[in-house]
Amino acid sequence: MDAAPSSFPSSSPSPQPAAPRPGRSALTRYAGLLAALVAMCVLFGALSEHFLTAASFRTIANQIPALAVMAVGMTFVLIIGGIDLSVGSVLAFSGAVMSVAIVQWDLGLAAGIGLALVTGMVCGAFTGTISVSLRIPSFIVSLGMLEMARGGAYTATGSRTEYIGGNVSLITDPWVAGISPAFLLALIIVMMGHVLLNRTVFGRHLIGIGTNEEAMRLAGIDTHPPKILVFMLMGLLSAVGALFQVARMEAADPNAGVGMELSVIAAVVIGGTSLMGGRGSVLASFFGVLIIAVLESGLAQIGASEPTKRIITGIVIILAVVLDMYRSRAASRSS
């Protein structure tokens, strides 16, 4: 054959960025999650006259910020094929550091928040560095961090709930139309996470690492720094979650966030992010958070007992993953 590739000039990026183009598969995913969410609202609305009210939606909106921002971080962690089990403990530890800085060291609110964020980031950097540079599964390292950070939280607070007082609650106090600054901040972080994953070189590298890390290495990309950064981001967002929780309680509880890693992972998985890495969406994870929150508050409103709530939540998690599996199979068949 006479294939004559004339020349291969290096491309010049056009100055004006094009609109993001989510694939058809991503659009069907959002549609599916939205339909599930609407269906749940309709169902709980039919079962309880109090559910479809502005008040109950405000309650949900003011409950989810911590879960929402941590789900953003966890989406990144799962996309690179990792997992972070320490997020609940890191939340407690960061909150504890914040309360100690404000109450015992008298450093003021801003410095307390700053120290909390640094604490979370250092925890994440530790997990990421150990697991990436020594090639230990992040499951194991973060399990260790789960214990260490919980111990840190107890040590910092002397195993007591540390009361801070009213000035932190302005973060979570209802603000415009009953919505708190925390909720708005969480929304902003979700949008930023979505852009980071879909529009940046960093995000593309993460998807590549989760898909085939060795191929990325052979393409001349150093895969370690982005992976460590992802764990640092996870730690930072856990600390942001701590900020929201401490503000809501006006206190740091060393037992805060016990088992929260599982809710976060459940939300992300309901959103269709793969535990095998390479496939996921921050926006879909946010839908997962909403589904879990609506489910919990809906079940509470219709008077379901705690055991019943847990059984139903479990069923919903499995159902969501099964449905997502069929959806993505159908999508790959139709193309």
């Binding site: 290096s10 491309s11 960025p17 593309r204 998807i207 990325m216 052979l218 001349g220």
Partner: protein, 509 residues
């Protein structure tokens, strides 16, 4: 023996067809006689595997019928086919690694005494079978997972010989075997033929096919393109019949001008694999590396690409010292590696063509860390056109492309990055013959544009077709270098064996 007998055929296929979403096999009629070796040849997707799976009972036909010794034959499962004496050795290994050789051989008929596994009986039954495939020295207790791939393949073949076997189907049996094991396999096939077993042999290695088979049936696009006596066909005839046209006639390796030295390699050594290798790659040159398995070629490439570090030796690239400590540094210096394991190490299979093409040059389609999707799509579209990648568009996942087009995507990645040196390890492995020539033409065109390439290939004809110069490695050393026109197959092979003959104790390939 090569002439079809007048007696009743062992197996007769009449108008056999199979349709999934489209037809993959249509109107195949064929006779197979006892004691005959019939080779099935054809490109990937020509229907070889589908045909053999229908005969072996793994798939049912959607049209046509089969007769064994005149009686209707319609196996509902592999077990049903085996009861009629039709056995199949699959391309993919279906062994259970932690179980022993003997247990794997008789997995479905494990002997038991008082409900316990009868090891003695099992081993007595396993040993003669193992001897037939050259595993007589092995302990039947050895877990299959401890064997090499070639030995595992022999176990798989031995399993095909358990019980009554009148028709044996071998799907790419030699793909992972060493030459010694292949010879053993051929001996075994000869013995079976003498016993009156009919054999269907599927292979990409056409010289092997020609040597072994009585007749060759060629499939093209799911149809029978011809059945001929193997003695009457040359390899070129088989290829023409497989592809449906003359390939290679339009391929012109010439018209290249070789420039000055680009990469100078001096005294590279690492362990026993690479010893004191020196050569120079020139601008616009395609330099081939020939050698046997274990001659150290992949290990040398790893040194050139920074995946390993040399114990001794220096490299100079474009006049500057070149000491890559990682693939990242190699790429930054302009050296790209195109790996033989395209799917496992080369591509991000579920991702779009565009993402794969821009992977190594994302910065050029990004502003301040933000990917410009339009620039990315433009770059992908341009390279899809230049390299004639057959696809829907740049958004199509590379997993859906054929092998040849996947390889073009990998090439496109390094053209976008504009690397002057390309290291290609088995660039046409698993690629159809027709598409292979497209890759050759593309590489030749790139060299005309001044790219320099180092090509490793186990196919000597490929190197002789493509390269300006062939270096031969043997037991880690450079055993010779031949310029185009000054080489012939015999002298290259002699050089390839030279090092291994001198130090035969050093390494077992």
């Amino acid at each position: 023996m090569t002439e079809p007998q007048t007696s009743m055929p062992l197996l007769r296929l009449e108008g056999l067809g199979k349709t999934y979403s489209g037809p993959v096999l249509a109107d195949v009629s064929l006779d197979l006689h006892a004691g005959e070796v019939l080779a099935l040849a054809g490109e990937n997707g020509a229907g070889k595997s589908t045909l053999s799976r229908i005969v072996g009972g793994l798939t049912s036909a959607s049209a046509g019928s089969m007769l064994i010794e005149g009686r209707p034959y319609r196996p509902a499962s592999r077990r049903a086919a085996e009861r009629q004496g039709v056995r199949m050795v699959l391309q993919e290994l279906s062994l259970i690694p932690p179980l022993s050789i003997a247990e794997n051989l008789f997995l479905d008929t494990l002997p038991s005494r008082y409900g316990l596994l009868d090891r003695g009986g099992l081993h007595r039954r396993a040993q003669p079978l193992m001897a037939r495939v050259g595993l007589a020295d092995m302990d039947p207790e050895t877990p299959v997972g401890d064997l090499g791939i070639g030995q595992q393949q022999m176990v798989e073949i031995a399993r095909g010989l358990t019980g009554d076997c009148r028709l044996l189907i071998l799907d790419e049996p030699s793909a992972m075997l060493t030459d010694r094991e292949t010879a053993l396999l051929f001996d075994q096939i000869e013995q079976l033929r003498a016993l009156g077993v009919a054999i269907v042999y599927i292979s990409h290695r056409l010289d092997e096919v020609k040597r072994l088979a009585d007749r060759i049936a060629i499939l093209r696009d799911g149809r029978l393109a011809g059945v001929q006596s193997a003695a009457a066909m040359q390899v070129e005839d088989i290829v023409r019949s497989m592809v449906g046209r003359d390939v290679g006639a339009a391929f012109d390796p010439g018209g290249r001008t070789i420039g000055d030295a680009l990469l100078d390699v001096r005294g590279m050594s690492r362990g026993r694999a690479v010893h004191d290798v020196s050569f120079t790659l020139h601008r616009g040159e395609i330099l081939g590396f020939a050698g046997l398995v274990g001659s150290g070629r992949p290990e040398l490439m790893r040194l050139l690409f920074g995946a390993d570090r040399p114990a001794r030796g220096d490299m100079v690239l474009e006049g500057r010292p070149y000491r890559p400590r990682s693939p990242r540094e190699a790429v930054a210096a302009g050296v790209a590696m195109i790996t033989e394991d395209r799917k496992g190490l080369g591509l991000l299979l579920p991702l779009a063509i565009s993402a794969n093409v821009t992977l190594a040059s994302l910065r050029t389609v990004a502003n301040g860390g933000f990917i410009d999707h339009r620039a990315e799509a433009d770059a992908a579209r341009r390279l899809i056109g230049d390299l004639r990648i057959r696809c829907r568009d740049g958004d199509q996942p590379v997993a859906e492309l054929s092998g040849g087009n996947q390889q073009k995507v990998v090439l496109a990645r390094w053209l976008l990055r504009d690397c002057p040196v390309l290291l290609l390890d088995e660039p046409t492995r698993g690629i159809d013959i027709g598409a292979r020539y497209e890759i050759y033409a593309l590489l030749a065109e790139l060299s005309r544009q001044g790219k320099s390439m180092i090509v490793i290939s186990s196919d000597l004809r490929e190197l002789m077709l493509l390269c300006d110069r062939i270096c031969v490695m043997s037991a880690g050393r450079l055993a010779g270098a031949f310029k185009r026109g000054a080489w012939d197959q015999d002298s290259i092979l002699a050089a390839a064996f030279s090092g291994h003959l001198q130090s035969s104790s050093q390494e077992q390939a």
